[in-house]
C-alpha cells in the first residue's frame, strides 16, 4: 500500500477492496439498515395477519417462516452488524488509532455477511419454504421436522458466525494494541469498554452457536443422534447448548447499547459520566454472570428443583449491576444543564423503556411464575422492550449523535425529534398491550388467536405500523443530511461532547490519527 495519504479509491472497487475502518463501518451501517427494513417488512406481515383474529392474509406455514426470519434477521442482520459498524467507525477514533488492527480481515468480515443473508433470505423461495422453527430453532423442529432449506440456514449461520468472530478478534486486537500513548484502559470511553467486553463474549459464544448448528447438520445428514431420542440423544440438550450461546448473545446486543448511552447522556447533561469505574465493573460483572443464567429460558423443561433455584437467583443477581448502570445514568443527568436534542431524546427513551424491560425480565426470572409467562406474549413484550427500545433506540441515538461528525452536515432536528416521538409512541402502543395479552394467556408464534385478545392485538398492529412508518422518516432524514444537510465544520458538533473523536476535523477525514494524539 505504501502511500497512506491518498484518499479513497474511486467507484465500486473502493467498497469491495477497502480496508479503511470508516468505509467498512459505513458499509456495515447501511447493510444493517437494509436488514432492519427487510426484517421490519416481515414484522409488518406478522402484525397485519394478527390485526384481527382468524386467518386472513397468509397461510400458517408462511406465518411461521415470517416469525423465524424476522427474529433471525433482526438479531443477526440488523442489530449485531449495526453495532459492529459503529465500532469500526468509532473505536479507532476514540482511542487515537489510525485504523483497525487487522484491516484486511476487517474487509473480509464485512463482505462475507451479505452472501450469508442472501442465502438465508433465498430459502423463502426454496421447496418446503424457509425455516419455520422460530429464531431459537429448537430441535427436533429444526432437525426431524425441518424443511429441506434448513441446510442453507445452517450454512448461513456458520458464515455469519465466522464474520462476528473475525469482527470481534479485530476489535479486541485494536483495543489492546492500538491505543494512543497515555490512553490507559481506565481512560477509554465507555463505548470502547463495552465493546471490548462484548467482543470477548462473542469470541466465547459464537463458536458454541456454530457447534449447535453443526450438531444439527450431523443429525440431519450424517446419522448422528445428538438431539434425537430414538438414537439415545436428547432434544433438551439442544436447548442447553443454544441458550449457553443465547443468553450471552442478548448481552452482546445490549452492552454496546449501554456504551452508546454512556457517551450521549454526559454530552447532553454537560457533566462527566457518573461512576465511570463502577460502569466498567458493572459491565464486566454482567458479562460474567451472563454465562451462568442460561437455563432461565428453560424453567419448564423439567429441571431438578436445585437447578431451578440456582438459575433463578443467578438471574436475579444480574439486576444488581444493571441497576448500578441505570442509577449512574440518572445521576449523570441529575443537576446537569440538560438539553434535549434527538440523540438525547432517544437515550432517555432508552433509559425509561429499557428499565421497564429489565423489570419484566425480573418477573420472568421468578421460576414458579415463569411457568405461566413462558412462551406467551409477555416474553415477546419483555424482549422487545430490551432489544428494540434498548438496542435499536440506542443505535438510532448513535446515528443522530455521530452523523454530523461523519458527513460534516447537520440533520434536520425537527424531523429527528418528530421521529423520536412517533417511534416512542408507536413502540409503546405496539408492545405495551402485549404484556396484557401475554398475562391473559396468548401464546407467542401463532397466526390466529382467541377472540378476547382482539382489541389489544389491533392496538399492537396499529402501533407497529406507526413505528415501522417512522423508520422511513429516519431513512429520509439521514439521506437528506448526507446530500443536502446544513454543512458544519465545528470539530465539536455538540458543545458538551467529550472524547478524541471530537478533536479531529469535521467531516472526519478519510485518515485520522496517523500520528497518535496526546492524551492527557
Amino acid at each position: 500500500m505504501g502511500d497512506h495519504h491518498h484518499g479513497p479509491a474511486q467507484g465500486l472497487s473502493r467498497w469491495l477492496f477497502t480496508t479503511n475502518h470508516k468505509d467498512i463501518g459505513t458499509m456495515y451501517l447501511w447493510f444493517s439498515f437494509a436488514m432492519f427494513i427487510l426484517g421490519g417488512a416481515f414484522a409488518m406481515i406478522i402484525r397485519a395477519e394478527l390485526f384481527q383474529p382468524g386467518m386472513q392474509l397468509v397461510e400458517p406455514a408462511f406465518f411461521n417462516q415470517m416469525t423465524t426470519l424476522h427474529g433471525l434477521i433482526m438479531v443477526f442482520g440488523a442489530i449485531m452488524p449495526s453495532f459492529v459498524g459503529l465500532a469500526n467507525w468509532m473505536i479507532p477514533m476514540m482511542i487515537g488509532a489510525p485504523d483497525m488492527a487487522l484491516p484486511r480481515m476487517n474487509n473480509w468480515s464485512f463482505w462475507i455477511l451479505p452472501p450469508a443473508f442472501l442465502i438465508l433470505a433465498s430459502t423463502l423461495f426454496m421447496e418446503g419454504g424457509a425455516p419455520a422453527f422460530g429464531w431459537t430453532f429448537y430441535a427436533p423442529l429444526s432437525t426431524t421436522y425441518a424443511p429441506p432449506s434448513v441446510t442453507y440456514f445452517i450454512f448461513s449461520i456458520h458464515v455469519l458466525g465466522l464474520s462476528s468472530i473475525m469482527g470481534s478478534i479485530n476489535i479486541i486486537a485494536t483495543v489492546m494494541n492500538m491505543r494512543a500513548p497515555g490512553m490507559t484502559y481506565m481512560k477509554m470511553p465507555l463505548f470502547v469498554w463495552t465493546w471490548l467486553i462484548t467482543a470477548f463474549l462473542l469470541v466465547a459464544v459464537m463458536p458454541v452457536l456454530a457447534g449447535a448448528v453443526t450438531m444439527m447438520l450431523m443429525d440431519i445428514h450424517f446419522g448422528t443422534s445428538f438431539f434425537s431420542a430414538a438414537g439415545g440423544g436428547d432434544p433438551v440438550l439442544f436447548q442447553h447448548v443454544f441458550w449457553f450461546f443465547g443468553h450471552p448473545e442478548v448481552y452482546i446486543i445490549i452492552l454496546p447499547a449501554f456504551g452508546v448511552v454512556s457517551q450521549i447522556i454526559p454530552a447532553f447533561s454537560r457533566k462527566p459520566l457518573f461512576g465511570y469505574a463502577s460502569m466498567v465493573y458493572a459491565t464486566a460483572a454482567i458479562a460474567f454472570l451472563s454465562f451462568i443464567v442460561w437455563a432461565h429460558h428453560m424453567y419448564t423443561v423439567g429441571m431438578p428443583i436445585a437447578g431451578e433455584l440456582f438459575f433463578m437467583y443467578a438471574t436475579m443477581l444480574i439486576a444488581v449491576p444493571t441497576g448500578v448502570k441505570v442509577f449512574n445514568w440518572i445521576t449523570t443527568m441529575w443537576r446537569g444543564s440538560m438539553s434535549f436534542e434527538t440523540p438525547m431524546l432517544f437515550s432517555i427513551g432508552f433509559l425509561v423503556l429499557f428499565t421497564i424491560g429489565g423489570f419484566t425480565g425480573l418477573m420472568l426470572s421468578i421460576a414458579p411464575a415463569d411457568f405461566q409467562y413462558h412462551d406467551s406474549y409477555f416474553v415477546v413484550a419483555h424482549f422487545h422492550y430490551v432489544m428494540v427500545a434498548g438496542a435499536v433506540f440506542s443505535m438510532t441515538a448513535a446515528v443522530y449523535y455521530w452523523l454530523p461528525k461523519w458527513c460534516g452536515r447537520m440533520y434536520n432536528e425537527t424531523m429527528g425529534k418528530t421521529h423520536f416521538w412517533i417511534s416512542f409512541i408507536g413502540f409503546n402502543v405496539t408492545f405495551f398491550p402485549q404484556h396484557f395479552v401475554g398475562l391473559a394467556g396468548m401464546p407467542r408464534r401463532i397466526p390466529d388467536y382467541a377472540l378476547q385478545f382482539a382489541d389489544f392485538n389491533m392496538m399492537s398492529s396499529i402501533g407497529a405500523f406507526i413505528y415501522g412508518a417512522s423508520q422511513i422518516m429516519f431513512l429520509y432524514n439521514v439521506i437528506a443530511t448526507i446530500v443536502a444537510g446544513k454543512p458544519t465544520s465545528d470539530e465539536k458538533v455538540w458543545d458538551g461532547a467529550e472524547g478524541l473523536e471530537w478533536t479531529v476535523a469535521t467531516p472526519a477525514p478519510y485518515h485520522t490519527f496517523e500520528t497518535p494524539p496526546a492524551v492527557r
Binding site: I165, I169, A173, A204, M206, S225, A230, G231, G302, P304
Partner: protein, 186 residues
C-alpha cells in the same frame, strides 16, 4: 504470558483464534458428554442408563410393596402395535420381576425399532435397575411379524419410602432408515 508472535497484533489475534476453536471443541468434548453424565448422575430427564444392571443378591423387603406402572407410546408416524402385557405390577423391593411387552409390525416391510425408556418420578431413576430389557438393543421385526419382548427389573431397597408408585414409560421409535443408512447411531 506466552507470546505466539513478536507482532503484538498477530499475537492477540492468534490467541483469540485459539479461544474460538477451543470453544467450538468445548461444545463437543465437554458440553455434550457432561450433559449425559449429569443426567445419569442426577437421574434427571427420567432417563435410565442404557446399560444392563448386574444384580447383587439382597434380601427381599416383603414389608413394602411398590406399584410399577407400564406405559407405551408410539412416536409420531410409528405404525407398530406396541404395549405392555400388564399395565401395572405390585412388587417388593429387592425382588427380581419379569414382564413382557408385545409388538407387532403391521406393515409389509421389515422394520427396526428402538424403545426409549423414561421413569417418573425422576427421583426413582437411581433405584430402578433393569437386568434385562428390550430397550438395550434395537428391535428388528420382519413384515407382519409379532414379538414378545422381555423386561426384567429390580427395585432397589434404598428406594425412598415416600415413593409408592413408579411409572415406566417406553416410547418406540422407527429407526429403520437410520439403520439402513448404516451409520451407527451414537
Amino acid at each position: 504470558m506466552i507470546r505466539v508472535s513478536k507482532n503484538p497484533t498477530v499475537d492477540t489475534a492468534a490467541k483469540l483464534v485459539a479461544v474460538a476453536i477451543g470453544m467450538f471443541a468445548f461444545v463437543f468434548v465437554v458440553m455434550v458428554p457432561l450433559y449425559d453424565v449429569l443426567c445419569d448422575a442426577l437421574g434427571i430427564n427420567g432417563k435410565t442408563d442404557g446399560s444392563q444392571y448386574t444384580s447383587v443378591p439382597v434380601a427381599i423387603d416383603d414389608s413394602r410393596t411398590v406399584t410399577v406402572q407400564f406405559v407405551a407410546t408410539n412416536n409420531e408416524g410409528m405404525p407398530w402395535e406396541f404395549g405392555p402385557s400388564v399395565t401395572a405390577m405390585k412388587v417388593h423391593p429387592g425382588a427380581v420381576n419379569d414382564t413382557v411387552f408385545f409388538a407387532r409390525n403391521p406393515l409389509s416391510k421389515d422394520m427396526v425399532a428402538q424403545a426409549i425408556p423414561s421413569i417418573s418420578p425422576a427421583r426413582a431413576v437411581k433405584y430402578f435397575h433393569k437386568t434385562e430389557c428390550f430397550c438395550f438393543n434395537q428391535q428388528p421385526l420382519e413384515a407382519n411379524a409379532k414379538a414378545e419382548m422381555p423386561l426384567q427389573f429390580i427395585i432397589d431397597q434404598d428406594l425412598p419410602k415416600d415413593i409408592q408408585t413408579i411409572t415406566l414409560s417406553y416410547t418406540i421409535f422407527d429407526v429403520t432408515d437410520a439403520v439402513s443408512g448404516s451409520l451407527a447411531a451414537r
